[in-house]
Structures are given as structure tokens and as C-alpha cells.
Symmetry: C3
Subunit: 383 residues, 3 copies
């Protein structure tokens, strides 16, 4: 639902071709995407506060790899391939845990939270084994917006350019997203969607609002300008969000008041407005005055993608939700419905991708020009 | 169960080789069959009276494609790829429906029943878009025997030669099948069988009666000449059906009277006789004096085929069945048992197709010569 | 759990590389293993006493083939591909049965228990058909240790060299295994494990005891020397078994007395000792003084292997178990737990085999040198 002044049809604009159908179905293309995109670029994998103290770990999927993310004793959050250096068994089994060391359950090879081999049965009788050669294999880690981001590349892409750059393109300045204080917010609700569609269909769906009138009745009620599939933008090039309807009291499933204060430091032009950005390749960030919604995608196969969605509120709001004083269900329900509506459309599009009738691809209308730019980026990146 | 004088063993005839096992298991062979056979030839997909008035549609699978079959306002029955010209979503979702236009549920692109782009949001502000370029992609349609037949080829095969030609080979003249008035009959019962076997095993099974004595006790009770696996044909080259047993009163599971009149215009030599024809690549037609049984196959994978079987009776019979006055269960049960018996044999044959012991194929006895001819046709067609 | 003096770390020994990860995941490697190993070498498939008299048959999986094993009238146990020479249907359907002839259920082609074509409908009218050309295709059969072993090779490997040779390597002399009289024992219990791991991970696991301290608490209680992952061998090169703990009364889940006599002809150095041997490619034999445990593996896919495990006791013991006088549950439970513990470790290792972090393989410590030798054998055999 990215909308900007370019959405307005240009005089003489004609329809633009999409990618061809095989980009969404070919196992070779998918393998290349896993290698060149998901196992190379920065992936947002986890809320940092899910690892509150040293020894807390979680396992996450990045590309085709399982990665351990752990809070270390001395070096903040670290991440490793979940593969024992000895015979390869999963060192951490299950979804999460807490432990002083990371010990493989097969032969008891034991690693420090910093990833070094600390002990192994009979290791002292193998005098020429260099413990540094047998540590866990690390991956690059960054924290931003309260999330842990990892890159599996030997030389990771420049975080400022590749991640913050996407935000700058959308918000003008990175600072304007800082107003929401996303790193200090807390997750009140998370939902996981197992979507029967290629990850690119999900990104493309997120990048246009031409479909809003057809499939998102609740959302277009709250943000009426979405109903025409174009942004009713103010004059000039300045990018800005989409305004709430006049009678709308809050970003809730029925437009009623949310009962929540606005996040404290948002700017005047962020009030009563919805902003959405895509951080390629797998993150969507949606901001409204009193909460933030973050989607993370994990591609599983050419035809299947898992999407995890977090609803983030001010810490004091989450406290009151947890104590039963406050209810954010109407706020959460709005985007949950949008998610279900979008993913159903993606699932009904996926099977056509292998049709002879889509061999040459489909067409983009002018207001879908962001998708065309995404396709350009994709071609460039895979080449 | 096609039987003709050639079934009689010729003096000195020796066993004839079959196709080799990989023809029934190799995914590349299956892809070639989908492209060159099922997505090229005429497929029988649907009873025409399932679409009683303009706007009634059904979705059907042809080869690897999903096709919309719809009764148009002005042009009879039409068929299209179920792929929106815009971003590809399935235009019709589900199995069947009725609507004045065909509207895609994603961005509301709307097509007439004749397949032209009628409307799309903001289309009027895209002045240079030629609506003719963005219609639904059509496929060729014919009606015969009350069924809709479609071909996905750009240049479809000659219907008279390829479809009627098969009938002519079997019945001598196409007219003799006309006696049954199949286009005026109605479906009293349909059953769908999900068979774990390659489609060619199912055709080959249908093409010989050498197995009848072993697996079809009810059928050989009704048609005793099937018991010897050969046709007790009259002298001369004239092809004719297989006669009912002397004490058999009707083509029912126990040979009892069916309680139905004969179809009005059948010829004397079609009385008390069963005829069967294969219309390659996916239709079997079985006629008896008071009803007709039609099988349609849809190959799903090298090891899986869906078979739909219709039991067709005179319209007045179906009326009386629907009002509860009449029961055709014993008629239906006979061929339903034959189907189950045949498909079990096919499913027990499929796993051997990948055995080293079947690498060079098996053997055909003289009465299976139709299978040899089918193999010749298959080789010719795939080349 | 093969342990010998070489397990002791050599001075200056360094870690040895394993096979690379793709050896455990690549479908092409798996196909080559099926062809060159499982469909060529001798496979242990069945207890011979499961076929008590002529006409008793069982179907078993060998490599990618289904094989009939049948007790013939005149020639002992015979084995054939389960593929009819006519059109290929499975001749024997189901798991086991008894019949005077082997008759295909499709067209009633009928074979003697010795595999010759005995009869087929209309065969007498096909005078030039040579019945010898249309028998069931045989595979080579041997009996040893009371088990039926088959080889699908045209020229099977030398049984003495390839099968007995493995035993000789471990036990010094084949005779020492004869002391257990395994061919006269009977199966009291069988369990089948469907393991989500490559067959080589299961063999490698069986070949070392470095993991025993970590995952086998019950076993190391009974055989304390397993706890250090090395054999506390007597001096000299003589290979021998692993001794029970001082306070251990029997090879049972809690070390209590089994209530069974020792097998009558075991040698003094086989008392209170556990021996284990691998008969490549798919058999493990474990002997203790009062029973024998035999594992047979059947690889299903690169990531899946079925393991069948028999617990064999003296015939009179099994009689008393069947009459309810005696209970061998504590004896069976010990190795059942070991199996579950081992297979869980294998299943937690399998997913890492496709990780970039295991692309170059892992490391073997000195006490895992048998695995290195297995890898050498594997490379040699596949080449």
C-alpha cells in the first residue's frame, strides 16, 4: 500500500509488463533467490527483547539455513549456524531456550555463548586440535528498531545503504521513522500466516493500493483515499502518509476510537496518517499514530511463504493489556483482516503463474509503478 | 473392453512387446504428454446442460491448465484460461457459479461473457489502453454428444478426423452412435475416481478383455463371451458389440431386468449388446440398450489420474429417478464395480513400471493387439 | 558401538574430515547408492522361519525393488521380482500369504513356486510362446544366521568375502559368532523404526561410542566402559567385546538379572560381554550372553530410512514367553531405548547436512576412525 504522487496516471501512460510467470514457479529461480537475496541481504529475524539476558537463545530460519540467535555474555546479541562443528547435529533443538553454554546433545561438544569451542570429551587427549578452528560458524548481526537483523554473507551489504536507504526513500529522512520510537515499543500480539504463494506476489501486493477498493472494505472505510486506488496527495513532491477519513476516530477495525494515546514523539504531519514502507527483501513496516505493524517474510518454496506479523504498542499500553485493563483487539483486528484479504488474493494468483496464459506475464497500470521498480531491482540483483 | 475379430489368435502369432516402464513414470515423458497430447488434442470436459443459461460457468482442468467454461449471451458456450490479463489472479474461483460478467476479485477487472475487457478501475484515465488486448485468452470449443470439448492448441486438430474418426473406426459409421441420442440423454449419476496409476495403464486396461474373466465376475455373468477374453464374433469383418447372456434380462449388476425401456432409436443389432469405444486421449464411451456410460480422464501426475464417470439415461428416466419413482442403482452398480476392479488392477501395476524387471516392458498376447496400436499412436504423437 | 584398540587416541592424531553434506542429501547420490550398493550387494531381508513350508511367501523391499521371497517345493527359499512377465502387475499383493502357485490377479498368468510360467489363459492357442521366456525374474538367495539374504546383481558379490568377511574382521574368526547359534534362535520381539535420516548417518552412529556418555544413560550403566567413549581394551591387538559393569546382573534396561540362561555354546570370553558388528551395507548384529539383536535397514529416500530390529532368544525362551511363563520386556527395553536415542540424534543431524556450514563436512575424533574407514569404503564402492 505504498502510495505516492507518481501513482497518478501520467498522460499517455500505457500498461507496463510484469515479470513472466516462471519467476514465481521455477525451482532454479527460487534457489538463486535464496542464495543471492535471502542468504546475502539483511534479514529481520527477531525482536531483540525476546532475548532478555545472556544465554537466552532462539532458532530462526534465514534462507535455507537454521540460525541460532543468542544473547552473549560480553558481546551483545550473536548469531551462528545451528550446526555442530563435529558431526553437524543441531546444537540448539527446539524454538527457544536459556543455557549458560551451547552444548550439542550428540557428543557433548560445548561452545561459549560467544561461539568458541569450550570443551569436548577427550579433547585434552587430542593435543593438536586448535579450538578456534572448531567454533560455531558466525553470521553478521545488527540491531535496529528493536529488531535483530542478520546477514549470512561473508561480506554483508552496507546496512546504512541497503536497509536505512529503503526507509530514506520512503520517509525522506530516517529520522521521521525515529519519531515512532519503534525500538522502545513492545509486541502486544503476533500472528503467523502460512501463505500458499511466492514471496514476490506478497511484496507486489503490499506495493500497490489499486486492489484496496476491491478487497479491503474495512481499510478503505478508515482511509477513504485508498478507495480510488490512487493517493489524493497534496501538491508537490513531498511524500507523506494517507489520511484517516473525517469521521474516523482511530485506526481500528470499525474506525472507532482506539482508546490509546498517540506515540509521544510523532510529528504533526504523522498524526491521523498511515505510512507504509517495504524494506527489501522481507520486511514491511506500517505506522499509525498509536501503534506500528511489522511484517517479516520467510520464503519456504516457490509456492509458499511464511509471514510473521507483530503489532507493537507503547510499553505502558502492553503492560495494561497484560494486566487485563486494556484491550487492543479492535486495533489488531483491522490489519489482521487486511492480511487475510491480501494473502487470499496472493494464493488465488499463484496457480496462474504456471499457466501458458501468463507465460509472457501480465500488465501493470500506472499506479502500480512501484512494482515495476521492484522488478527492475529483482532482475539487477539476481543477475 | 474393445473386442473385434482380430482378437482371435492368429496361427503363429507370438507375444508383442509393450512400451517400456519409463513411459509410465518419467516426469519428462509426462510433461511431453501434457504438452503434445492433453494441451493440444480435443478434451471432453463437461456436460453442456451443466451450463443451462447465459452466465453459468464451471472451471475444469485441461492438461496443466485451469479453464473457465461459460455459456455466453450471444455465442453459445465459450472457454477461457482462468487467468486475469492484469496480474493473473484466477477470475472464477471455486467450481461453478452464475454471473452477468466475469469479474476478477483482486482489482475488479471485468470481462464480458464473450471474454472482452468491459471495465477496470481507472481504465478511462488510461486512454491508450486497447481493451481488445486485455481480454481473457480463449480456447477452442466444440459440442458433441451433449458434451463440451475443448482444445488448447492455437490450431486445434480437425474435430471430424480426430474425434469422430475414432468413433468411425469402432462403429463403422458415426451414425450408429447417433442412434443412442446421447446428446438428449441426461446424467443420473456421476462418480469421480482418484486412481494411483498412469493414464496409459487405464486406457490399456479399457482396450482389452483378456482380464475380464479374472477380475470382472459380474460383467462376465452378464456378457459371457467376455469370459474367454476373446470376442465370439460373427464371421466376416463387421465389427459389432458383445451380446448379453441368454438368461440375462438387463445390463445390471445381477443381470436382472433394469425396468427401463430401450433408447428409442437404436438399431436391431444394438439390442442386447454392449459396445465400447475409446476416444483418444481421454474418453471412453460404453453403450447398452437402455443407457450410456461415459468416462473422462484427467492426468494429474505420472502416477495419478482422475477419472469422472457419468451414467446417462433417457430424460424421462432421470425425471422419474429424481422424483423417487424409479431406481437405477442396479444399472449404475454394474459399471461402478467394473471401474473399481479395473482401477485396482491399474494401481497394482503402476509400481512395477519403475522396476528393473519391467525396464524392457512386458508382453501383449494377440487379443491385446489394440494396445499395440495405441502404443504406435503414442510413439507417433509424442515424436 | 564398535570399539577396538585403535579407538585410543594416537599421539599427534588430529581431527579427520567426514564426507561432505551433499553425500547425505543429493538425490543423484542416493540413486547411485541404490544402484551400486543396495541393488548389488547382499541384503538381509527376512527371518527364514517366517516361511515355514512350501508356498509361504513374503514381499520385501530391496533398493527400489519389491521382491517376493517364497519357500519353494523343491528348491528351498527362492526370490523373484514382484512383476508379472505379461503386463507387469504385482503378482503377490500384500505383505505375506500362502499359495500353491503364484498367480497374477490381473490376467491369471500363473507361476510355479520355482518361478516358471505354468499356465495363462489362451496360452495353448499361442503355440510359439516359450514358457521359459516368461517366468518370474529371479534374484540370488543365500541363508545365513537363520536369515534370508538376497542380491539383485546379475553376478552377486562373493558371499564369503563380502558378508562373512565383515564378521571375520570384527570377531577374528567367523566361528566365534557361531557360538551364539543365531540360526537356531527365534524372534521374541520385532520393532520397526521410521527414521528421518540418511542411512549413512545411522551406520556412522552405530560405528562409534563417543556419543554413548551423552545419549545412552541406561547402556553406559550396564557397560561402564562406554562412558568414556573409548574401549578399555586389554593389551594387544586382540579384538574383544565390552564388559558388563561389576554390579550388573544382566543386559537389561536396569542392569537387573534377565532371568535367562546363557546361550549354551558361547565361549568363556563371550560371557558378560557385548559384541557389535556392522555387516555393510544394512545389517547390525549385537550379541550378549543370553540374546542377540539384529538391525536391518532399508533406505527410502536421502532423508528417510526404515530400520527393523529383531530381538532373538533361545527357542525354549520364546516358547515360555508365548505361553506367558516368562517376560523378556526388560531385556528388549534396553536396546529399544538405545535405538530411540540413536535415531533421534540422527534425525537432529540430518537437517544440518544441507547447511552451508556443513558443505565441507565435519570432523572425526580419533575414536571415530571406523567412520573414516566406512567413508573410504563408500567412496570406493560408488566410484
Amino acid at each position: 500500500m505504498i502510495i505516492d504522487p507518481l501513482d497518478r496516471p501520467l498522460p499517455g501512460a500505457s500498461l507496463h509488463p510484469t515479470l513472466t510467470g516462471d519467476a514465481y514457479t521455477d525451482p532454479e529461480v527460487f534457489r538463486a533467490e535464496q542464495a543471492s537475496i535471502f542468504e546475502t541481504m539483511w534479514n529481520c529475524v527477531l525482536r531483540a527483547d525476546a532475548l532478555p539476558s545472556p544465554g537466552h537463545w532462539r532458532t530462526v530460519q534465514v534462507g535455507r539455513e537454521e540460525i541460532i540467535v543468542v544473547r552473549s555474555r560480553s558481546a551483545g546479541i550473536r548469531a551462528y549456524y545451528n550446526v555442530c562443528a563435529h558431526r553437524g547435529m543441531r546444537v540448539c533443538t527446539g524454538y527457544e531456550g536459556v543455557s549458560r553454554k551451547l552444548q550439542c546433545g550428540y557428543h557433548a561438544w560445548t561452545y561459549t555463548l560467544e561461539g568458541d569451542l569450550a570443551a569436548a570429551p577427550n579433547l585434552t587427549s587430542m593435543p593438536d586440535v586448535d579450538r578456534e578452528d572448531y567454533g560455531l560458524r558466525p553470521v553478521h548481526v545488527r540491531e535496529w528498531l528493536g529488531y535483530v537483523w542478520v546477514s549470512l554473507a561473508d561480506e554483508p551489504p552496507n546496512f546504512d545503504q541497503e536497509v536505512l536507504g529503503e526507509v530514506r526513500t520512503r520517509f525522506g529522512e530516517v529520522e521521521s521513522i525515529d519519531n515512532y520510537g519503534i525500538d522502545r515499543l513492545r509486541v502486544a500480539e503476533s500472528k503467523t500466516y502460512d501463505v500458499g504463494a511466492n514471496w514476490k506476489l506478497i511484496i507486489e501486493n503490499f506495493m500497490e493500493c489499486y486492489h484496496c477498493a476491491t478487497i479491503h472494505p474495512e481499510l478503505t472505510e478508515v482511509i477513504p483515499e485508498f478507495a480510488d486506488g490512487l493517493a489524493s496527495q497534496r501538491a508537490g513532491g513531498a511524500v507523506h502518509g494517507s489520511g484517516f477519513g473525517q469521521d474516523v476516530a482511530g485506526f481500528t477495525v470499525d474506525g472507532s476510537e482506539s482508546g490509546l494515546s498517540e506515540l509521544p514523539s510523532i510529528a504533526p504531519d504523522q498524526e491521523r496518517r498511515y505510512y507504509a514502507i517495504t524494506v527489501k527483501p522481507q520486511v514491511f513496516i506500517n505506522t499509525v499514530p498509536d501503534h506500528v505493524i511489522v511484517h517479516r517474510m520467510t520464503p519456504i518454496s516457490p509456492e509458499r511463504t511464511v509471514v510473521e506479523c507483530d503489532w507493537l504498542f507503547a510499553a505502558e499500553v502492553v503492560d495494561r493489556v497484560e494486566s487485563g485493563e486494556l484491550d487492543v483487539a479492535r486495533s489488531v483486528e483491522l490489519f489482521h483482516r487486511v492480511n487475510l484479504q491480501d494473502f487470499e488474493a496472493c494464493e488465488l494468483t499463484q496457480p496462474s503463474m504456471s499457466s501458458k496464459a501468463y507465460k509472457g506475464g501480465g500488465a501493470l497500470v500506472p499506479s502500480e509503478h512501484h512494482i515495476g521498480e521492484f522488478h527492475e531491482w529483482w532482475r539487477r540483483t539476481l543477475r
